[in-house]
Symmetry: C2
Subunit: 573 residues, 2 copies
Amino acid sequence: MPSYSAPLKDYQFLLHRVFKVEELSQTSLFEHATPDVFDAVLTEAARFCENVLAPINRSGDEQGCQFENGRVTTPDGFREAYALFRDGGWAGLTAAPEHGGQGLPHCLQILVDEMTTSANFGFAMYRGLNEAAYRLLVRYGSDHLKDTYLEAFATGALLPTMNLTEPHCGSDLGLLRTRAEPDDQGTYRISGNKIFITGGEHDLTDNIPHFVLARLPDAPAGSRGISLFLVPKLYTDEESGLEVRNALSCGAIEHKMGLKASATCVMNYDGAKGWLVGAPHSGLQAMFTLMNAARLGVGVQGVSAAESSHQIASAYAAERKQGKAPGTTGVGPDPINQHPDVRRMLLTQKAFAEGGRAFALRMAFSIDKAHAADHAAEREKHEDLVQVMTPIVKAFLSDAGNEAANLGVQILGGHGYIREWGAEQWVRDIRIATIYEGTNGIQALDLTGRKLTLKDGAALGQYLSLLKSLLEDANNSFSPAADGLTALEDLSDLTARLKSATAAQVSEVASEYLAFFGLVSLAAEWALIAKTALVHQKEDPQFYADKLETAHFYMKRLLPRYLALDASIKAVL
Amino acid sequence: MPSYSAPLKDYQFLLHRVFKVEELSQTSLFEHATPDVFDAVLTEAARFCENVLAPINRSGDEQGCQFENGRVTTPDGFREAYALFRDGGWAGLTAAPEHGGQGLPHCLQILVDEMTTSANFGFAMYRGLNEAAYRLLVRYGSDHLKDTYLEAFATGALLPTMNLTEPHCGSDLGLLRTRAEPDDQGTYRISGNKIFITGGEHDLTDNIPHFVLARLPDAPAGSRGISLFLVPKLYTDEESGLEVRNALSCGAIEHKMGLKASATCVMNYDGAKGWLVGAPHSGLQAMFTLMNAARLGVGVQGVSAAESSHQIASAYAAERKQGKAPGTTGVGPDPINQHPDVRRMLLTQKAFAEGGRAFALRMAFSIDKAHAADHAAEREKHEDLVQVMTPIVKAFLSDAGNEAANLGVQILGGHGYIREWGAEQWVRDIRIATIYEGTNGIQALDLTGRKLTLKDGAALGQYLSLLKSLLEDANNSFSPAADGLTALEDLSDLTARLKSATAAQVSEVASEYLAFFGLVSLAAEWALIAKTALVHQKEDPQFYADKLETAHFYMKRLLPRYLALDASIKAVL
């Protein structure tokens, strides 16, 4: 029953009007990423997501993955859809052309990610790591690994996985026990159990390469003794030249709340042959290439949830008629989207979807600018921004996605609780986003720990200054931006207080501090959006009037949440 | 894996120390409801819920209800559990002894309701209406209906249902189309389709009596033309004396997000024989007897969700060891309940569970005092309180239950997303609570509409005065109560503003106003709890220290949420 329509118009607005992505095509790295290339890619991706992925989303949820004798069968239509995805070149948008990728910027990638997830979150999970795994190998891989895997990742011939968690070891990776013993061939024998491995086994590709964290025999205890290995399901034996099945297996798949079309696997490594990636005992650093990309990806999933839930809810609310709305004069009941309380919920979803999209896009754009930078200082500036924004994007947008999805159910009322409408699937699917790739509590500790003190606070200070300039720039034409400036002052004050707080105090308020940061971050994006809308409003009055209404709503009705956070934090600090 | 342990100690504390329920046994109506009777009933109910209902909760969710050829099969063990429930006399705690009930007060009933729901929400749904349906018939039923059904409701021989919603008609009951034609036997022929009917068909009892809203041929349009009928699945034909199958059937059961063990039915009435309940065209008024009781029940479900999710999460957090908590000195990782961010989530659940329980108990206690009152003025005072509290208890506690259940998943991390731990089932099960029995948006409109102006505002004023006196009384010994008084002043100010606002403005802020009211209501309960704990703390230092810690946490870390609501509301008013 639910259908998905890619928000291409909003993409155009953000890319060309708000972020002026054209400046990227003036760099040598992205000179081919011209506006018409952007538009062509987005239009094509939208078509694929709407027509191929969305139709198998509900059925994928109902059917789920099947596990039998170590083999995983994905839901009907997933194999065919994956073949189209791969053949369409969607796996390697940002990978280099010499490896079969398209060399396009990240800000384009995350919009394609958003559409893919919006259309079919379960499907999107399988291909979630290709780009990041590609970059991981570019940076840390041996020539052998590069030769073997780069092209396969860029073209989607293979779907890499990330193996961190063990039964006793989740947030605290220092506890991990999986062992790696060197063999006499320059490779290693990996033994241990990993859990919660997305796509650890499936039928979309024949081979599956696993990135596995493990300890070498001489490893120091804790997180400084962890190394990274690439452990493929199948590999070519050097002597015989034959393809060999590695000593690893999927022991089970989890029965989950949602994302049922995505196989979450228990993986057993029984002396499986693995190749070291990067230096010994430096596995966490390398794995963070994957992790940080995944964190931006999770933020984007929050945007997908808000967007898709909003599409379902606004379609329903336009059709469903109940009661007279205040101020209406017609005969009979009004569509519920005219009732102010329903409108409040719809606008909340919209504010998170569109503001969150701008926020994630800013981070992706910074990644691109770092990649394309000609000078080290400029690269560093953008990298610092990305560092600071990563935990906020991940946690704030995944929380926002959860809230929006729950509002979607609420707007549909009893019909929201029924599976066929698709609203409740979003609540179940997006629920994991505040947990995986580092729980939102861990993100908050990353922000208040590592990121707060990065470069003696200069990195975070740079982001605060950026927020200030965005709000000040908008304030001339869009007066609600002043509310954002007031909030920003409080946030800066709290930031100073945090620096002299005890570790216990900091961790007690970390989640609220991150939420505060997220609220102000979105305020800056909405201020910029409003300012831009005011400049262009005559070109498309209805589109820009909607933007201004949502911007006002965000500033006046959602941003005030910081007052609660501020008071609660100050009760501790 | 999850198990449930009834919070009997908290019940004792609230009943005997906080609310001094003993005063009820000094009334003639409840003279037999002595403390030892309370204790015996609660202990026995706890045993039943822990040992009979809890063990079939997860399996009930996995198996769900089956529908075939118009028949519904409940999950394994439900029939046997229901027989024990019925034979234990649990269906009619508050019904009169002459009908096989136990004549006990409501404040005891809702604690049994809480335990039943905590142990097995799906099961609890089937027996959710017996007490209220009993009272409905006592007040509005003909002698024939009383003779036929009162005892059956009080003893649990039959499980009545409530039929309001139709495919096109949810919040706006004025739209309903089901017809009732008088026949020549003094009864009516009911024709129409009803949806979302809890327990519309099942295998726990042979007969099922349905309370159905329908329109008589001469009915005025809208909600003033609705009558109430009792339409049983089976009835005794007067001429033949034989039991006859009525012309009604279950057409399907819904596939839902949660509450899978509870059959949610599509009901088709095809000229089914029905008996008028109350006066023609006055059906809504009579149905509200059921509805208001159900709304208190939904608030209690929120408490159940918070309590059970907290039990699952606190057991997990005490066992699960990850990372060093700030300030700890031991070797190796600490249990995550020592990490301040996890502690914050656990305390939030606890504050909602225990504070919400006190809030619901106050409402139930007021119902009892109204029933037991010797004078009309006293009865009216308590009835007014109940009227004002009903939408707040329903909406605020169901929201709180949803938040607590989601925190439960968050605390368990990846394990929270896996079905076997039971945390995610609470998120799915409790999600309906903000929707059914009038969405929380409808509750907010009830509060800002009917309840705000009830007796020219005197009813709401009485409740505000009560909150004030509770907070002032506590303020001498528990200084954080002062925060509650500050919040209460803002709330009173907003209440005054609301009275001169436009209908559109009121409905725009109604949900936030209700949430504000709920926050202050819980603040008053926590102030009273803290004050009581301070008096008794030497009797059980750990128990009362926990109470004081949670009370502080609520006042300093959760109550400040009103600041956000206040600012957001004032942006509109």
